[in-house]
């Protein structure tokens, strides 16, 4: 037993001595220096790998795309298409707030599929550039749109879905909004809501079910509160769960994006510039500035276009005619078939 202890002490002696001799601060500093040099080495390695991967940079308007020489023509065509679309959407001063970050596309080994369309890449480039523009110049509006950048034009059928959402969600302002009350629409869209968002949006008797819809991570206390809200109807527990970030909005992201789309359509080429010009004013003022009309007019247009979409499964005449025409044609083909001839 005594021999074993002696052997262990002899083994630890060199380390023990050196560690004791060093100050903890000096050890930490040396370790930090070593870590820094390792990180530098990694950055250099990544940079070299990136240079090996992307040998060319395409510049299309304000867009810069790091790519390979082989992919250059394809990336250039897509970049130019994306840039034109961005200028049309955000106005000519789209790069006023600095250069776009470099986008990467493919590598030296990549090839363009024979039937690949530059338009697909253009849409991807446009989407990432649009996200950058919104996050740098219209962050508050982007947050209001749930962090989702509007892509493309919202279709007729999507507008119909917004109308359905407006009548489906049991929020206080929704039905009044659908009936044409502008201020109700402002509340439903989260533009003009009082300090108590939950109470402005929903009647207390809907809160327990709304709490059941809350998704995402809840801690232990919040889970208990949700149970109390749903099972016992404890309104204070409901309030603690149904924060503005968690509660179901009366109108979702697409409805809000549609309002921005209408503002841009109304405002013309410089609509985004006006939206981004003054970040100190409220959301409704920024939207009104973008649209070039008072917010009431913009909200009226939004509500009117929702009411104008025909709903229900009633077949429109062209659908009826199309169905009958196809049936007639196919029947004629079937009658002229080769059987029994």
């Amino acid at each position: 037993m005594c021999r074993r202890r002696l052997a262990l002490l002899a083994l630890l002696a060199p380390w023990g001595g050196s560690l004791h001799a060093q100050e903890p601060a000096a050890v930490l500093q040396r370790m930090e220096e070593r870590l820094d040099s390792m990180q530098l080495a990694r950055a250099l390695r990544d940079s070299l790998a990136l240079r090996a991967k992307y040998s060319d940079t395409v510049v299309a308007g304000g867009l810069r795309i790091a790519t390979s020489a082989r992919l250059r023509p394809f990336a250039l065509a897509a970049g130019e298409e994306a840039w034109q679309s961005l200028v049309a959407r955000f106005g000519p001063s789209v790069t006023a707030h600095g250069a776009f970050p470099v986008t990467t596309f493919g590598s030296t080994r990549s090839t363009v599929p024979k039937l690949a369309k530059a338009g697909d890449l253009a849409r991807g480039l446009e989407r990432s550039a649009a996200l950058w523009i919104w996050s740098t110049q219209g962050a508050a509006v982007l947050r209001w749109m749930g962090g989702t950048v509007p892509t493309g034009t919202i279709s007729h059928s999507d507008v119909g879905d917004i109308a359905e959402e407006l009548l489906r969600t049991p929020a206080r302002p929704n039905r009044a909004c659908y009936s044409g009350e502008t201020m109700a629409c402002a509340a439903a869209l989260g533009i003009h809501v009082g300090a108590d968002t939950l109470d402005a949006w929903f009647e207390p008797d809907t809160w327990p079910r709304l709490a059941g819809m809350v998704s995402g991570e809840l801690n232990g206390l919040e889970r208990v509160a949700r149970e109390r809200c749903m099972n016992a109807g404890d309104l204070s527990a409901c309030r603690s769960i149904l924060t503005p970030a968690r509660v179901l909005p009366p109108v979702g992201v697409v409805g809000r994006q549609y309002l921005v789309q209408l503002a841009f359509e109304s405002g013309g080429a410089s609509a985004f510039e006006r939206l981004a010009a003054d970040t100190g004013v409220t959301l409704e003022h920024r939207l009104a500035a973008a649209a070039g009309v008072p917010i009431d007019t913009l909200l009226n247009r939004w509500g009117a276009s929702l009411r104008a979409v025909p709903r229900g499964p009633a077949a429109p005449p062209q659908e009826l005619l199309l169905g009958l025409a196809w049936s007639g044609l196919l029947l004629t083909m079937a009658l002229r078939g080769s059987r029994w001839r």
Partner: protein, 217 residues
């Protein structure tokens, strides 16, 4: 003669007819089963969600009816190797029209059952303001979808064995081309293109992609 052919069609597809008519009764009634009182703030939510969930049942029903009736229209002739049809003193076109008309009549019967069922289902449910019931619209859409699918399937089932083999070969070729295109990373899917063409906005089956909402805004 039409009555005789209609009778033979009925005999061939009566089991399917009864099942489909039963489904035509059940689907609208079941879709609105859980509707609450109008005073319930969640009434619209529940109604529209249930209607959307059950909406897929209507085109499936139309397709099933078309398939059963098209098969029923040709099966007696296929079984007897077309001897009966060839012995009849009527032109081929007239005979086929009679067969087609018999199937179509039965499709109308299922649509009529659906119309009655949707009307009954929507009458029983108190609707929140600003929501509307569309029993007529959904029946017309069912009829159109059934008509398009029935006509296509009637034509396909009437093909000669040689033509049927040709159609099957073309289909296999498209599947093969899709596989090759995928392996070669061509970025093009012929099978997807065919499906898009069949379900595109101006195609005969476009109606299957429409909204099938018994209760809507």
């Amino acid at each position: 003669m039409f009555r005789a052919i209609l009778w033979s069609q009925w005999r061939e597809s009566r089991l399917a007819m009864v099942v489909l008519a039963g489904m035509a009764v059940a689907v609208p009634l079941l879709s609105l089963r859980g509707a609450g009182a109008v005073t319930d703030p969640w009434a619209s939510w529940d109604l529209l969600r249930a209607t959307a969930r059950w909406g897929a049942a209507y085109p499936v029903l139309a397709l099933a009816a078309a398939l059963a009736l098209a098969a029923g229209a040709w099966w007696p002739d296929h079984r007897t190797k077309h001897v009966y049809a060839l012995t009849l003193p009527v032109s081929r076109v007239r005979y086929l029209l009679l067969r087609y008309g018999a199937g179509l009549t039965l499709l109308f019967v299922i649509a009529a059952v659906l119309a009655v069922s949707t009307v009954v289902a929507t009458i029983r449910v108190p609707l929140p303001t600003l929501l509307h019931a569309y029993p007529g619209g959904i029946t017309v859409r069912f009829l159109l979808a059934g008509l398009s699918a029935y006509t296509i399937l009637f034509g396909l089932m009437g093909l000669t064995p040689r033509m049927a083999r040709l159609v099957a070969a073309v289909f296999l070729l498209v599947v093969l081309a899709a596989l090759v295109a995928d392996l070669a990373s061509l970025g093009w899917n012929p099978l997807g293109s065919v499906v898009d063409a069949l379900l595109g906005p101006y195609s005969p089956l476009a109606i299957f992609r429409a909204r099938w909402m018994l209760i809507d805004v």
